[in-house]
């Protein structure tokens, strides 16, 4: 799951994940998506850029 907040500054970035993922998968440039979503600082931007969702692989295990 996407971390709730940015590790560095503490801004809540998880609210942007669903939209970010959708638009990125649709082929949009991550830069414009992040600018659109109001994620300004590079600490917050890397949270979304470098995230790999693995929850679906973990679901069989509890």
């Amino acid at each position: 799951m996407i971390p709730v907040r940015c590790f560095t500054c503490g801004k809540v970035i998880s609210t942007a994940w669903v939209e970010f993922k959708q638009r990125r998968d649709a082929g949009e440039d991550p830069k414009t998506i992040l600018d659109d979503l109001g994620i300004e600082r590079y600490c917050c931007r890397r949270m979304l850029l470098t995230h790999k969702e693995i929850i679906d692989d973990l679901i069989p295990y509890q």
């Binding site: 709730v4 809540v12 600082r41 679901i59 509890q62």
Partner: protein
């Protein structure tokens, strides 16, 4: 000491603190980050959790959700009349009960007191599939950022000294510093380099312009000097939404004031005592 805002709304404030000192600016910053209390989930009672996340990860994620805080209603646990046991005066309780398949969101967290609802409704907590279930009860308490970052009311909270840029008469308007400046503070004037209007506050004091000037072969000293004004500070304070920025600032100042006044009272008691001793 004076303060002038260039921006002030609920989530962000930009202001200049004038006629101040590095020590006071830093005390103000540290107090805003570390000593202004907010609500955050501290205790979670998990009744059912067969999701892919461990109980402790779930609790950690819940703890990081910012909650709307009303400092007039809630007091810190150790100061509460209940003596730290937990009562509606110092704790906010929540319930959460979700069955898959769907993603658990912060809006599924039902507060007992609607004033303490989560700031954001769409924070994903955990993804559930068929037959997975999360049922829990959570308790949020008031505490300060010094204890744990989840109680920090601020995001970006910092300051820089006010930049002072001086360009002396040796400047020949070669434009090398203009190209070098990453913030676009400088522009080429008719006879020398000039500061772009309203851009001065953007200067990050990186001094790349000084280096560029030296690289132009001007000699030992550059023709442009970047200095900082140690009495003026440019602040940025951003709130995570639990408290409006203005309240964070006011609370922080009241904290510093209270400490100072406490100290005055204590020392007055003590020195009153020694004066008495000396005279007797």
């Amino acid at each position: 000491m004076n303060i002038s805002f260039s921006r002030l709304d609920d989530t962000i404030a930009r202001f200049t603190l004038g006629d101040s000192s590095p020590a006071f600016a830093n005390a103000f910053r540290r107090t805003m980050i570390g000593e202004v209390p907010t609500l955050a989930i501290e205790e979670v009672r998990i009744y059912d959790n067969n999701s892919a996340l461990f109980d402790e990860m779930l609790a950690h994620r819940l703890g990081l959700i910012p909650l709307t805080t009303d400092l007039r209603t809630y007091v810190r646990m150790e100061e509460c009349s209940c003596g730290g046991e937990g009562c509606p005066g110092c704790c906010a309780t929540y319930t959460l009960s979700v069955e898959g398949p769907r993603t658990v969101c912060s809006s599924d967290l039902i507060p007992a007191d609607p004033k303490t609802a989560p700031v954001h409704d769409t924070i994903p907590i955990v993804k559930l599939v068929e037959d997975q279930k999360v049922v829990l009860e959570a308790r949020a308490v008031l505490n300060i950022g010094r204890e744990h970052a989840k109680w920090q009311p601020t995001l970006a909270c910092g300051y820089k000294s006010y930049p002072v840029i001086t360009i002396d008469e040796r400047c020949d308007a070669c434009g090398m510093c203009v190209d070098e400046c990453p913030r676009g503070v400088l522009a080429l004037g008719s006879r020398s380099v000039e500061i772009v209007e309203a851009k001065l506050e953007d200067c990050s004091l990186c001094k790349l312009c000084e280096k560029a000037c030296l690289a132009g072969g001007i000699g030992e000293n550059p023709a442009i000097h970047i200095n900082q004004d140690d009495t003026r500070y440019l602040f940025v304070v951003e709130s995570d939404g639990s408290l409006p920025v203005r309240e964070i600032m006011e609370y922080a100042l009241l904290r510093i004031k209270k400490k100072s006044e406490d100290l005055v009272d204590i020392l007055n008691d003590i020195s009153g005592g020694t004066v008495h001793e000396a005279s007797s």
